[in-house]
Symmetry: C2
Subunit: 160 residues, 2 copies
């Protein structure tokens, strides 16, 4: 499964392991892309689908920290939480992720930022779970469109 | 790959996903087995191979906490660290794990404790990584014998 749209978001289901790999490029230096992931005041401006209100409960983005945020749609709250395994400035964020509607599901997420010529940045985000069925259900759940919308908003925020 | 020894430690490499599953039973109630995983003063008494000295730097075993410990052999230190994604008393610990000798490797670990008749406990510990090559290298590295020795020491600690 490979699809592409502006800003060139590629979402690939790995054929060998239950992992999703998202690749895209931003017209901004990686320090700025990194900050948009670590500063809760910026994160809240782009994360998730456009039609939901995000509320960040806490977002302690450092090695050994943790986070929880809530998306609100028509008065219904959807909670998400995890811990930050490792944070390397401008380079790498490794974290866990649970959607609280499926409290036994856990993903291991890795965000890697690479410097490109011309002050651009390539972002590669992987999400690993322990079964292909769960990975494919996750892809089928509409997660793709939420991810694409989020990254479109991030792209606009970085351009602003 | 399936092998068994006292205390009936079964270590299985999953055929479908890059995961190792360790199953064993203890002649102790699960609250006690859980405490041996969460209380650093107990953890330090059983974790890891017999011929290494363990030193716990911190072990904040709660949802959103983190840990780091060091194994010392012949003056050489081997560091390990991670964060606790979720801790449910007597039931579940989900955490990340990195051996600092391979700082880019991360495993997502899940420990599940189930009550058995007669005050016994079944422990199922899974460790998920993002490639079969890394999983198999990990199994080939002598990790198995360290795990078996650790669980033998835990068994003795619980009996004491």
């Amino acid at each position: 499964m490979t699809t592409t749209d502006a800003p060139q978001t590629q979402i690939v289901a790995d054929p060998d392991v239950p992992l999703v790999r998202i690749t895209l490029e931003f017209d901004a230096p990686r320090e700025k892309v990194f900050r948009a992931h670590t500063d809760p005041d910026l994160v809240v401006q782009w994360q998730g689908p456009r039609d939901m209100q995000a509320r960040i409960e806490h977002h302690d983005c450092r090695t050994g920290g943790s986070y929880r945020y809530v998306h609100v749609q028509d008065g219904v709250e959807y909670g998400f939480h995890g811990c930050f395994h490792e944070v390397r400035p401008a380079e790498l964020i490794v974290q866990t992720f649970t959607f609280e509607g499926m409290p036994d599901g856990v993903a291991l997420e890795k965000l890697v930022l690479a410097e490109l010529p011309g002050g651009r940045t390539r972002l590669v985000a992987t999400s690993l779970v322990d079964s292909f069925a769960d990975r494919d259900a996750f892809l089928a759940s509409g997660m793709e469109s939420g991810v694409r919308e989020g990254y479109r908003r991030l792209d606009a925020l970085l351009a602003g």
